[in-house]
Amino acid sequence: MVVTVIFIALIAILAGWWLSRQGLTAKPWLEVGVSGDARGAEPSVRPTGIGLGAFLVVAGSLFSLLVSAYSMRKGMADWQSLPMPTVLWFSTGLLIMSSVSLQTAVIAARRGEHDAIRFGLFAAGAASFGFLAGQLLAWRELAASGRFTAADPSIAFFYLLTALHGLHVLGGLVALCRTTIKAVVLSAACTPRALGALARSVKLCAVYWHFLLLVWLVLFSFLMRWTDDLVAFCRGLLT
């Protein structure tokens, strides 16, 4: 559970930092009235942004728990590691590509370049579908490997981790499709307001994809056993 505790500690630090800026040492019983700058007309982050952030915390908690469970199980004597399918490298590359394309779309949206936005969104969508196809190939490769039994925990964990991550990618693709449709429909001579709304959608997609990439890189490093030394070190600290 060390991974989870670290995750919760990070969230706690973040929350503590945020709370410390909220005037928690104010004395509300002495202060009456409304100060002039209580709330600006346009809050810096919109509700959808906060909503996404909160969702990422939930999803982050989910994945950190999965990684915790995985590393706890891995520490037991009978664990047999799995040779990882090579195709995972390709899918990792594709996910990085989609994250990068979305970032270019964000930059393009800031500059108002319609074609570049569309290109970035389409490229990200295509790369994400490619990523999912790569994961499916990895599943098939493992299934055909001859070692496949449902009762083997290392196989079960591999399928569970990739499936839950893949589901999150699929959910993101729904939002990405909606944003892409919005971008295609939007004419070049649109109002700055409409462009701003599109830019915000693109930004949200990009944040979500960066998160998915980060989660995948963490999962990948655990699956590839690069973190074995780290896990052993943590266990050494605790026992």
Partner: protein, 586 residues
Amino acid sequence: MTDDTSNVIQSLSVAEVADVELYHPKSWITKYVFSQDAKIIAIQYSITALSIGLVALVMSWLMRLQLGFPGLLSFIDADSYYQFMTMHGMIMVIYLLTALFLGGFGNYLIPLMLGARDMVFPYVNMLSYWVYLLAVLVLVASFFVPGGPTGAGWTLYPPQAILATTPGKQWGIIVMLVSLMLFIVGFTMGGLNYVVTVLQGRTRGMTLLRMPLTVWGIFTATVLALLAFPALFVGSVMMLLDRVIGTSFFMPAIVSMGEQLPYGGGSPILFQHLFWFFGHPEVYIVALPAFGIISDLISTHARKNIFGYRMMVWALVAIGALSFLVWAHHMYVSGMHPAFGYFFATTTLIIAIPTAIKVYNWVLTLWRGDIHLTVPMLYALAFIVTFVNGGLTGLFLGNVVVDVPLSDTMFVVAHFHMVMGIAPIFAIFGGIYHWYPKVTGRLLSDTLGKLHFWVTFLGAYAIFFPLHYVGLMGVPRRYYEMGEMAFVPPSTATLNAFITVVALIVGAAQLVFVFNLVRSLRRGRPAGGNPWGATTLEWQTPQTPPGHGNWGKTLPVAYRWAYDYSVPGAAQDFLPQNQPPVPRTA
């Protein structure tokens, strides 16, 4: 306290308060059934939760009848006893308490108390309720599947949860896990809404430290729930896979009924970690909203500002943070490294500090207050007493050496019923008696309310005080019948029969409450907008019950904190949060 602070007092024009785009219902169906209005959703949540709670109440009767008078009801056998026990626990903790505090009180009070027109994402909010209802229906369906509901206990510990000898192995456990996963999905949708609304939906002047403690409690509990429920989700998914496709996440190599099962290599302890990483914060998911509600009830009905408001807020946040570091105190008997036991016992005891701060502050709020013994106030006082009682036995059980002999006895049952069963239910009752006039425009009957209170309060103690002794005598929990056991004196059987009789009476008193709820809808005394003389914004709405959009044309502005009671020199003994300060003339 006076109004002559250095703040610049501005007269605010209407346009300064940014309005939100509001959804407008077009038909009866979208107004009352598939409604996106947080107030309607809150009522839907509350009615659903209370209804399923009544089912769980009936199951507790059946269990008590078996314990007090073994063999009296022929249809209760060992299997059905375990099924009642499991469903009673699961329903009460998750489908009643969690849903009612966050979905019910949260939805109703967050927008109104913060001066918002609605939740930030009304559509998602509506979905949240319907997914919750689906989860409840799936849960109810487990009574009708072949083999009946699962009898694995509310903790669903593997391996026994999915072994053939456990009742409900066939379908019950599958249905249970699916229902839990649905609940978590539904809750997450609602929870994101509550958090974002508190962060972004506050009206002008409503700083975080001007929020009523009810909102602070619900907000902190929601954050806990958003972080903790994924653990139950992960556990449920993995156990479902173990059960359905034969993976071995939690299932070790095992022989069941003389047969070697195909499982091998899973870790049951892993499930316990995941379950209690959710399970312990769950105690506070239920307790923190209760803390908040009680703070507001005490302050309002004692006509005094809450003592140590800031400390109350900090204590809520501290309890929330600490609740993630104590989960393994539920696992002492599962065996662990002594250093871990030491660590978890210490963190468990540390939680007592912020909790004690809260109790002291409530008592100090009451000190020399103008205490009105209304029904909500009676429940608030009962909450404090009961929570302290349950909390003190928690200090015993938090210590490894005391916990090991007491674990799995009725003492534990008495402890957690006091602290997270009875106490939060008192807060819920207090809250319902307090806010019912705002929801319906009519007061609940005071006579029936007092009858309900005294029977419930005295009855709860008559049930759970003796249960501590039964536990100390060594009567184990989860036993369908005791039979002849040398170490248990026969007097415990008498005590058990007594407890059962009282439990039936207390259960019947809840029907008085339901009757009161229904009767007062039409025949209750009209309440007016602010029957308790409360300061918080929900009592200052232009209409009662609040209309669509809550606030008429203009949003309220919060000029002061939520606890300006009995301010010297003020015309009334309360100053509403939206009452502007008197400009200085000098």
